[in-house]
Symmetry: C2
Subunit: 218 residues, 2 copies
DNA sequence: GATGTTAGAGAGCAGTGCTCTCATTCATTG
DNA sequence: CAATGAATGAGAGCACTGCTCTCTAACATC
């Protein structure tokens, strides 16, 4: 006896198709191109029927966001197996962003208006790389002694609490370094992906990442 | 004899009102809240009449973008008069972003889909801070000797050309340092404004900027 | 085989940007 | 000063979005 009826199988298939089409529309036309009506159209279904599979547009976005976070974190994890370094994190993320610019914008760009990320679904995959980076920076210290002063202990409380929930207990120096490195890496990629340096810069992306990481002392 | 008819004066007033309302809607509800129909409604005008004053939505956005770039660059210029340092650039931009988060997202966040910035109108105000930063970094060298290797000369050609058009001729070392510092500062502010570190981090924004700039060697 | 759930159709609401036509008001010019 | 032409606004309409509600038909289960 099969424990799945034809209807159940059809539903799973349709759900998978929806996320597939959604991801494709995101890649092709950006977030604005992701339209529930267009997906329904492509499924050969009337527009209202799509709501049998997806509560609303935000729920679809949550799926796409989770997918993207997972994809980039998987890439980073795999790359770190071959070479465990901050630079590897940077260039791997950079490479991923080059292949999926719209997905990058979805997870690291301007927050989507009115969208509220459901903690349970996106927080965990969304923090994977940061956790990895924190442990990485806990082990290796920077080549240059960074003279960055640590702010008053209580100021870092909320951040420390957030990291504790993820199973980490780094000291304040490491927290500060992590935040700095994190912001710098994402900032560089954002600046590149969003074209803030004008055209032509694509040719030196990797060199810029290398320069940045080495400037940060890693 | 007045060189302006009542009609001309009314037009100027209406145009000013449109940008005023547009800016307010941007501040209040983000870019998605900026709707031509809503502006027309507030002007007591039928929706189609708004197109007598504004070619289309993109033209309004161009105005808002130019305004924002000018505003933040003015702030930076004024702050630098009192204290000429990289840190001042960073904290001033950070402070501006705190006061105008939606305007910040407009100019430094994810590019607006399908929007094409008209070179003549936005490029000049949009590059003011970067030009300032480049000259700043041309004069003062970093405290730590950054061991960032410079990429092959031709790779920086497009960037060098862009800077030349703005009246600058920095050497490659300075270009690399500028790009790095620029990306790091914007990246940190983006990460803060876009809530990538979770809630509670607002309390240490300035300290983070201080730490970042000092880590960069300034 | 009756019952209840699920998938889908279809109409409709409110909102957006934008275009086109028509009327009215104003400014300029013969 | 009267006529011409430009500027302003009204109104209807198109195409698109997310989303809701009601109804019907297919399917699964008891």
């Amino acid at each position: 006896m099969t424990n799945s009826t034809p209807r159940q199988r059809a539903r799973l298939e349709t759900e998978a198709q929806i996320t597939r089409i959604g991801n494709r529309m995101l890649d092709d036309d950006g977030l604005d191109g992701v339209s529930l009506r267009a997906i329904a159209r492509e499924l050969g279904i009337v527009s209202s029927a799509i709501y049998r599979y997806v509560k609303n547009r935000d729920e679809l976005l949550t799926i796409l966001i989770r997918d993207a976070f997972t994809s980039i974190a998987d890439d980073v994890d795999e790359a770190l197996e071959h070479d465990t370094s901050v630079l590897t994190v940077g260039v791997t993320m950079l490479s991923w962003s080059r292949r999926h610019p719209n997905r990058w914008a979805l997870i690291y760009g301007t927050p989507i208006p009115d969208y509220q990320a459901p903690r349970d679904e996106t927080v965990v995959p969304g923090t994977r790389i940061m956790v990895t980076l924190t442990t990485l920076l806990s082990q290796s210290s920077p080549h240059q002694t960074s003279n960055s002063q640590v702010p008053p202990a209580h100021a870092l409380d909320p951040l420390r609490e957030g990291l504790r929930e993820l199973g980490l207990e780094p000291d304040d120096q490491v927290i500060m370094r992590t935040v700095t490195v994190w912001a710098a890496i994402i900032g560089l990629i954002n600046a590149l992906r969003f074209g803030q340096f004008g055209p032509g810069i694509e040719l030196v992306e990797d060199e810029l990442m290398q320069g940045l990481v080495s400037t940060l002392g890693y």
